[in-house]
């Protein structure tokens, strides 16, 4: 299996790993989004969704481990690429202007790091908690606290920014670039990241400003 090592240590190999794991994470994000959207259907629907999900105990465990591996690989390779790229231009330019970089692409490592912090907080809040509250109560208990809500909003903005470049970028890395579809691909990626950001951010916003949220 030496060839695998050989391939993933090349620059394109590393980028492809980022793209593949990124794809996995975005798929997860999509399902997470759909799941979380249950919140808008009211407390009971939301709690029922959570309970039904947890009934698939074994599958959830497997899924979680898979997800953890994806995250770890994505983070490991990102760090590796970040450190390598730092060394690629030892002497910086005195003046350098950007032309086609976007806020998304420029901030990838930083939004990535923000997402990592968010992940830890998010897991502590909702996963590694031994409270007996129902999920809806848990959400309320966390997100009605202004500091948490603000943190969630900022981190979710970072997430939206991250995938705004990430989705298009992973296609490019995997070789998907065809003039006929590029416009569609770009606007699709942009819309998706806006949708993801908007829906997720709506939750802390509601928690913060709608006092009857999940009651």
């Amino acid at each position: 299996m030496g060839w695998i090592k050989q391939i993933i240590t090349t620059s394109i190999g590393k980028k492809s790993v980022m793209a593949v794991t990124g794809t996995g994470l975005i798929i997860f994000l999509f399902f997470h989004l759909v799941g979380n959207s249950m919140i808008f259907l009211g407390r009971d629907m939301f709690n029922a969704y959570a309970e039904n999900l947890h009934r698939l105990d074994f599958a959830v465990k497997v899924f979680e481990i898979g997800l953890l591996i994806l995250f770890l690989i994505h983070i490991l390779f990102a760090t590796l690429l970040f450190i390598e790229n730092l060394g690629s231009r030892p002497q910086r330019y005195a003046v350098k202007k950007d032309t086609r970089r976007t806020w998304g692409s420029k901030t990838m490592p930083y939004t990535g790091a923000t997402i990592l912090v968010f992940l830890v907080v998010h897991l502590i809040n909702f996963h590694f908690t031994d409270s007996n509250l129902t999920l809806s109560e848990l959400v309320r208990s966390v997100l009605t606290q202004p500091y948490y809500a603000a943190l969630y909003i900022i981190c979710l903005l970072a997430l939206a920014l991250h995938i705004s470049h990430g989705i298009w970028s992973l296609c490019q890395t995997l070789g998907i670039n065809q003039p006929k579809y590029n416009k569609l691909l770009e606007s699709g990626a942009r819309s998706l990241s806006i949708a993801v950001g908007a829906v997720f951010i709506l939750i802390p916003l509601l928690a913060l400003f709608y006092s009857n949220f999940l009651l």
Partner: protein, 253 residues
Amino acid sequence: MKLINLIVKVWRQENETSSGSFQTLKSGPISTDMSFLEMLDVLNEKLAKVGKEPIAFDHDCREGICGMCGAVVNGHAHGPENETTLCQLHMRHFNDGDTLVIEPFRARAFKVVKDLVVDRSALDSIIAEGGYVSVNTGGAPDGNAVPIPQDTAEQALDASACIGCGACVAACPNASAMLFVGAKVSQYALLPQGQPESARRALDMVRKMDESGFGNCGNERECEAACPKGISIRNIARLNREFIKAAIISYEK
């Protein structure tokens, strides 16, 4: 024709090992019809006349095709004009009183040799790994033996228009050479003549690119914006495809 006066802040560096610094010069009256390099010529004549050493810069054809010239002007590789090499940039795009900051192309893989002159031999060594079709002279079949669709030939030409100037590397936030490699790999990936070696070519050229100290592509698109020949990052996507295909499907290692 108009005359303008400029303040020129130019990078001066004695040799590869010395540390350089900016030198600030007054251009004196510069005709707006001059090319950027002619402006440097005028500065150099002035420097020489007062016994100072002229600014070293690479240049040759001065018609935008040899790829020898290049510097970063006010933060843009080859200056602010689109699809224009430094030698084809004209002074009419600047205004009286402007300050020009001129720096060499910077990358770990491109050492500064002197002032604005950099060593781009890393690009040649990547080509040596497979930027060709391995066919000896003599014995080639008739030129029309293998038809090539017009569109394919045009796309191959879009890619092979690369002049190897290194502006893509200079402009890339990560000093990556993916556009350069992508353009060459694409040319042969598109043409039937390039097929037999396509897997080997993609693997070897990418390996050499990594060894040479270039950074990783971040899909930031700065390279295609700086490219004086307008080469699209579509070619990078094609390189990625070729590489992944070679790595996973082919028998090559």
